[in-house]
Every structure is written in C-alpha cells, then in structure tokens.
C-alpha cells in the first residue's frame, strides 16, 4: 500500500520526540503528501513517555486515526504502549540493546529490532542523535526519498556550529536509513512516494491564529506563560520588532488582560493568549471591558480542567465558562474555529468584531487544534481577504467637527456609540467600571441604568449581522447528523468517511461562531434530522446543553471525551455503536 501511512515515534521527554516528529512531518509535506501530525507529551522536561503521531496520505485528510503501521520506539515503554496499535504487517523499530521481551510484539507485527546505538556510533554520532536515526529508518522502510529528510535536517541544524551539527546528523540519518532499507524494507508493505503536488504549508492552529491576528492589525499582546496558550505570545514576540507589535510578558494573568485593556482603551488592537486557568484569573477584568466598552480579544486555548488538570492535553471544557464568566450581563462574542483556515480567519475577524461592537471577543481553541500540524494550501491563510474594520471609530475630521462635550456612551439604536482613542482635544472623557451616563461619568440614576444596560445589550443583537452561520457537510437526507463545534471538526469528518465506506450516510453541523448563538440556523437543520449525535470533548455535553437551552431541541445521542486525548474517528464510531 502506498501513501496511506501512519507512524508513531515514542520516547522520553528530552529525547527530541516532538522536534524530530515535526521535522519528519515537514519532510512528508515537502514530498507532496497530506499530513496530520499530533504531538502527545507529558507535563515534564525529562523522562515520562512522549510520542508523536504522524499520518501521511496521497489524498486530503482531516485528522489522525488509530490505524498505525509503524512504531519507532526509543524506549521499552514506547514498545509497551504502542506495539498493540500496529496493524498486521506493520512493524516496530527498537534498539536490540533494550533486551526487549519479544512477547510485547503482537502476532503479525514485524520485529524490526536493530543495533541502533551501534549504527549511530558507527556513523560518528552520539545518543542524542537516536531520534535523527529514527527518521532515517522511517524513510528507509517506506522508501521515501531520503533527500526530504536531509532537507529538514539542514533546516534544523544548518547554522549550528558552522554546519558541523547538520553533517553529523546527516551521516547518522543515512546510516540508519541504509540499514533499515537493506535489512527490512523488502518485507515492509507500507510505502511512501513523493507526489508532484503544489507546495503546501504544514502549520498548527496557534501559528495560524497568530498570523491572522497580525494580519488583522493586532499591535499589542500581553500574556503570562501557560500551556497551550503561550506559544501565541512567544510567536508574536518574535514578530514584534519587525511588525511594530508591543508584546508584554506580565507579572500574572490579571495584569496581562488589564494591560491589554489599557492598550485597547488607548486605541490599539490588543490580544491576550491564555488557557482556562489563566482566564480564570482574568474574569473580573473581562467585566471591566464589557462595562467600559473596550475592545479586547482573548485567545483561550483550552486544556483539561478543573484546576491544573492535564496541563499538556486537550479538552473542550470551557465553553460554558467563557459564555458566563464575570458578574452581571454584558455582550461578548465567542468564536470557535475548527480548521486551520478558520483559525486564521477568526484570528483577524476577532479584532474587527471587538472594535465594531466594543466588547470582549473570545477565540476559543484547544490543545489539539493548537498543536496538531496539518498540511494546507498556502491560500488557506487568506491574507487577501483580510479586512480591517474599526467600526464606529471617529475619523480626525469627525473629531474636529464635534460640538460640546463628547458623549462617549451615546444612546443609539444599534447600541454602538461612536468611539475615539485618546489624544483629541474634543474627545476628552473619563470612563468608569461604575455605571455611567452618556459622557462616561458615574451615574446611579435608575432610568439611566436601564437605558445604559439596554444600549450595551443591543450591541449583541446588532452583532448577529456579522456572525458566520454553522456549516453543514454531507448529504442533507442522511441517517445520522453529527453536531460538533471547534476542533472536533476533523475527527468527525474522518468518521463520516469511515461510515460512508460502510454504506452509512451521515452529515455534520459544525458550529464555529458560538455566541451570539445561531439558534435559528441550528434549529432549522436539527428539526429535520432523523438522528442527531453531538460530539464534544467535555464531560457534561456543554454544547448539547446550549442547543437545548437556545432552541429547545434535545440531541438524540451525546458522545463525550474527557480523558485529555483528542477525538479519533474510531472513538466517535465506537461511541455511536454504544447507543
């Protein structure tokens, strides 16, 4: 079988599993293959068991799956954990020096034990290059042109020690490649061949979202390190000097969102990347943005809670939390992208929505979407479609023409009051987290309070005009309709393909703009459905509950996952059977 291949590289933290895995995924992408790669690591710097799951195919895919053809095991633990996942005819690569108990290898799975350390040593390498050897072996067994692996090694090590590191790693990769090819390739039936295809990007949700934010005019980002949100701050900090972005690693998450809101109040598009725990600290300040109508974008990259939970794993458990966080009622917008395209799109859209409706906007992602690498056409990051819309921001001419005291919070039909960044003599005002009048001054009058509350909440209704309705995939008259939001998109699409092979037609309602809730659009689709099945990565079925609350429709079956691992298509199909 050619170009339908999944491998797992497993080892301890510190053995370079993630960097090597990502490198090999890049080699496969450059070979013209479609790639979906998922890192799985423990919350530690050394030891433990990390693995990197890579699926590569000749036709488009939406996620990883559980069919594994090759396990590249750097440790005995890796063999123990993954050998059982390998299909018949697949194989397990390990170092014979590990003195492995052969019974760990299931029947029908090939034993690719080899003197790995000796091969590396013989090529002049060190134990630190065992990971590099594994990529050479994968190429050797699958028949992938080693040139793609070599290219990635050059990219990763090229500049280190004047090229000496690259040379050493290349030698190791070649030696390991040749050994695997000469000893085992002939009896390994799963092959990879380069395909002549247009160049694709290999990218995860976090960088796609960061690029979206940059394109959308984000010029300020503040945050406090927390997996899996902090890579957004790290990436933006790397771009900051060249693109004129102020980034600030603050003393805590409260300061992070306060600083962003300060920048927003001063007229700069500001974003805050975090995860659920960090956002927990930001909750009071979220209300400040709501009350004082200051735009701010919060990138909430979810991980499993409660509390520290599973720090390096995935969950969709914060939906209800972000919808309801902070005291009182105020408008907020919640976007939940499910694909790389949507991560980029929502990355820039969020800033328009925040300024247009002068309220906090969430982009709700998760560890799985943030860190899985996928091949996409370069056009998927559609910079040409980016629009910068600052809403009712007063132009210098409008400011010059202002008469009398400026009403920052003027009552309007849409709820949107024309806003001005500070610095113009005619638009001087103070705003307050206390209830205030149209000028921004503190005001406790009952009538004013009611009108101000209504004005703010009207913005949410006005915002409906800019919401993207949920998308339906698959035939409309299907037996089963899946309902999911955010990152469950990929595994659901794969599950649909598997069902189709079995002769079962299904379709899929994918909700991306979560709040204000697209009640009419959701109801329209679900009312006609024969069997509705929700798929979401949390314990209580938060989206299913929201659908019921907003439409009165109870989905027929709910499939939940809350073990910290991403959905696989097989997991969804097993869940479907249980009903």
């Amino acid at each position: 079988m050619t170009n339908d291949f999944t491998q797992i590289l497993g080892g301890e933290a510190g053995q370079g599993v993630e960097s090597t895995g990502a490198g090999f995924a890049q080699a496969l992408a450059r070979a013209g293959l479609y790639v979906f790669a998922v890192p799985d690591y423990y919350s530690r710097i050394r030891g433990g068991h990390n693995f990197y799951h890579i699926r590569a195919t000749g036709s488009p895919i939406f996620s990883h799956n559980e069919t594994v053809h090759l396990v590249l095991a750097l440790t005995r633990e890796a063999v123990k954990r993954h050998a059982g996942q390998v299909v018949r005819g697949g194989g397990v690569v390990y170092d014979t020096a590990l003195n492995l108990d052969k019974s760990l290898l299931p029947e029908g799975v090939q034993d690719f034990g080899m003197p790995l350390k000796e091969i590396v040593k013989g090529a002049g390498g060190t134990d630190l290059m065992l990971n590099t050897a594994m990529t050479g072996i994968a190429a050797g067994l699958t028949g992938l042109d080693l040139g793609f692996v070599e290219g990635v090694i050059w990219d990763n090590f090229g500049r280190k020690r004047g090229g000496k590191m690259a040379e050493a790693n290349l030698k190791v990769a070649r030696a390991a490649h040749d050994y695997a090819r000469d000893h085992f390739a002939e009896r390994f039936p799963f092959k990879l061949r380069a395909v002549d295809a247009p160049k694709r990007m290999l990218i995860g949700g976090n960088p796609a979202m960061t690029l979206g934010a940059l394109a959308g005019g984000c010029r300020f980002m503040s945050g406090y390190p927390m997996t899996p949100g902090s890579p957004i701050l790290e990436m933006m900090s790397g771009l900051a000097a060249e693109y004129g972005v102020v980034t600030k690693h603050t003393e805590d998450e409260i300061a992070a969102i306060c600083t962003a809101i300060g920048a927003g109040r001063a007229g700069v598009r500001a974003g805050v990347p975090t995860s659920g725990g960090g956002f927990s600290l930001m909750v009071e300040t979220l209300g400040l943005a709501g009350m004082t109508e200051v735009p701010v974008v919060i990138f909430e990259v979810q991980r499993p809670g409660p509390s520290t939970g599973l720090a390096t794993r995935t969950e969709q458990g914060d939906l209800m939390f972000v919808l309801h966080a902070s005291q009182g009622d105020f408008p907020r917008i919640v976007l939940a992208p499910g694909t790389i395209e949507e991560c980029f799109r929502d990355g820039w859209r969020a800033f328009n929505l925040a300024e247009k409706y002068q309220c906090p906007v969430f982009v709700l992602s998760d560890h799985f979407l943030a860190n899985s690498l996928q091949t996409v056409a370069p056009e998927a990051l559609d910079f040409d479609r980016v629009v910068i819309d600052r809403g009712a921001m007063l132009t210098p001419e409008q400011l010059d023409a202002l008469e009398g005291d400026y009403k920052r919070f003027a009552f309007t039909e849409s709820g949107i009051s024309p806003w001005a960044p500070p610095g113009h003599p005619k638009a001087v005002y103070a705003s307050s987290s206390d209830e205030h009048n149209e000028y921004g001054n503190i005001e406790e009058d009952a009538d004013n309070r009611s009108r101000m509350m209504e004005k703010r909440m009207r913005k949410l209704e006005t915002a409906r005009q800019d919401m993207i309705p949920p998308k339906v995939y698959g035939p409309t008259d299907a037996e089963i309709i899946f309902v999911a939001w955010g990152s469950s998109y990929g595994p659901v699409r794969e599950a649909m393909a598997m069902l189709k092979e079995k002769g079962v037609a299904s379709n899929f309602l994918h909700i991306t703009d979560v709040w204000p809730f697209p009640a009419d659009a959701v109801a329209k689709v679900l009312q006609k459905a024969k069997r509705t099945v929700s798929v979401e990565g949390n314990y209580t079925g938060q989206m299913a509950a929201l659908i019921r609350r907003e439409t009165g429709i109870q989905v027929d079956q709910q499939i939940h996952r809350y073990d910290g691992r991403p959905f696989s298509p097989e997991y969804i199909l097993r869940g479907l059977k249980e009903a």
Partner: protein, 290 residues
C-alpha cells in the same frame, strides 16, 4: 496657556467635607496646568476607592478601572501611547493591598507612569476597615480588638523594587504637593508619590493636627541627598514623632521601560495607521511553514 480651569468639569465630588482628597485633587490640577499640559494629552487611571474617583472630577482622559488594577491598565495605556502622560490614582487599600504586586513590577520595570497613592491608613469607600498602612493595634470594623498586622512601608517597598522616584507628601500642603507632582510627572520612568491624607470620617488618629505636628520638609535638613539610595532608605524609615516629606529618591539616568521597547522606536503604536501586510511580508511569513 493652560490653566487649572481647563481641568475643571461639572461633576461635584462626593468626598466628605474636609477629606484629604480635596487637597490632592487641587494639587493635581495645579501641577498639570503648571506644566502647561493640555487635558487631552493626559490620561488619569484609577482603581476603585474614594481616591479612585479623581478621574471623574477632572476634565482629562480618564479610566476608572478595578480595585487594585490601575497600574497594569495604566501600563497598557503607556505602552500603547507613550506620548500621553499617564497618572495613576490609588489608595492604600487599592494600591498597597490588592494591587501591591503590580506596583512592585511597575517599579522594577521603570515604566513611565506616576503613581499617586492617597494614603489615609483606612478604607473609606467600604466604611472604615483597617488598611495595609494602618498602625498595629488600629481599632476598626474588621479589627475591633486592634489590628495584629504590622503596617507596610510603601516607600521601602518601592525602593527595594527599584523605583527611580520616591516621594512622600502631605495633602494639606497643596503647593508643596503640586511641586512634587510636577517633578514626578516629568520624571523618566516610574514615580511613587505617597500622600499622607487624613480621613475625617473613619480615621480619628491620623488627623490634620496629628500630621501637622510631625511632618517636616526633608529638603531643609542637613545631608538631604535624594540621589543617594542609602540616604533614601534611611530617610524612608523615619516615622513617628517626625515624618519627612518631599522627594526622597530621584534618579534620572536610567531609561524608562517604554524607551526600550523595539516596536516603539518608530513612535506610539496607538497613532500608527493599520495597514494590510505587504505581499513580500506575507510570502516570508508563509514560507516559514513550507
């Protein structure tokens, strides 16, 4: 010419008659007008508390935020618009309890904001609980048997954190106070101005009389040397029968945080137009993933 009148709005303060806040309010407007700063070039940021109502009573850009959070909000304003003069008004509860860690970090960064702390050693807005600067043994609603906590010395904290401008003032002496505020506003980096301020309703100990008997201008003393860290540390600890006021520490040779931010070299990010990324940049950004 800018005058105090330019900073006056139509809102009547809700402070108790005789409140120390009036003196600070007056001195602030005198200082801003004295420096010839126009109201639209100033941003007053406050938290929550009686002191934090200042922006509501001044005609200038203002932002009344959350209890304890004025400094990080002001930091965001300053990093977005370093061309604005950013002045924080906090109280001793707001600034030295809830917001203490922010103050320490602002000081060590030397971010260019003036931190005006209205220090009346009591919580006013919540009606009379002891604060971080209340003396041990203070009887209040939350310490009816006398407080056990020892008070913080905010000046020492600021000095320890690396503040480059530390001053103490008395709210009754509006002229001296406004001079100190003018120096703080012109300072390069973070400036703490801790203002001793009587609370006429809830603090029956630290009254106008109590302070008037004790405060003395440090400047008039032999050995006055605000350039010396050691002298500042020594002087900041004097508290009791005599309380020194004035600028106790001032260093102008260190760059402020915002002066060193690469993205701000080309001017404030808040005044630059937002343009689409040029095609060559887009190409480079994408190629990093190919």
């Amino acid at each position: 010419m800018v005058t105090v009148k330019d900073y006056q709005n139509s809102v009547t303060p809700t402070w108790c008659p005789g409140c120390g806040n009036f003196g600070i309010w007056r001195a602030l407007k005198m200082a801003l007008a004295g420096l010839g700063l126009e109201p639209h070039k100033v941003m007053l940021v406050s938290g929550i508390g009686q002191s934090s109502k200042v922006p509501d009573y001044v005609r200038a850009n203002g932002y009344m935020t959350l209890h304890g959070r004025a400094i990080p909000v002001a930091t965001g304003v300053k990093l977005a618009r370093p061309d604005l003069k950013v002045i924080v008004h906090s109280g001793d509860g707001d600034g030295y309890a809830e917001g203490l860690s922010h103050m320490m970090h602002a000081a060590r960064r030397n971010i260019g904001i003036v931190h005006v702390a209205h220090n009346n050693q009591i919580y006013g807005l919540t009606k009379g609980q002891y604060s971080p600067t209340s003396a041990s043994g203070t009887h209040s609603k939350t310490s009816p048997e006398g407080s056990i906590d020892r008070p913080v010395n905010p000046l020492m904290l600021a000095l320890a954190a690396g503040a480059t401008f530390v001053a103490r003032a008395f709210s009754k002496n509006a002229k001296e106070l406004s001079e100190i505020l003018m120096a703080a506003i012109q300072h390069r980096g973070y400036a703490l101005v801790d203002i001793l301020q009587p609370c006429v309703t809830f603090n029956r100990v630290n009254t106008y009389e109590w302070y008037s008997e004790r405060v003395y201008p440090a400047k008039g003393e032999a050995g006055y040397d605000p350039a010396s860290f050691d002298w500042a540390v020594k002087t900041a600890q004097i508290w009791g029968d005599r309380i020194p006021v004035g600028i106790l520490y001032q260093v102008e040779s260190l760059p402020s945080y915002e002066e060193q931010v690469p993205a701000l070299k080309a001017g404030p990010v808040g005044t630059r137009p937002l343009l689409p990324l040029p095609p060559d940049k887009v190409k480079t950004l994408k190629e990093a993933y190919m």
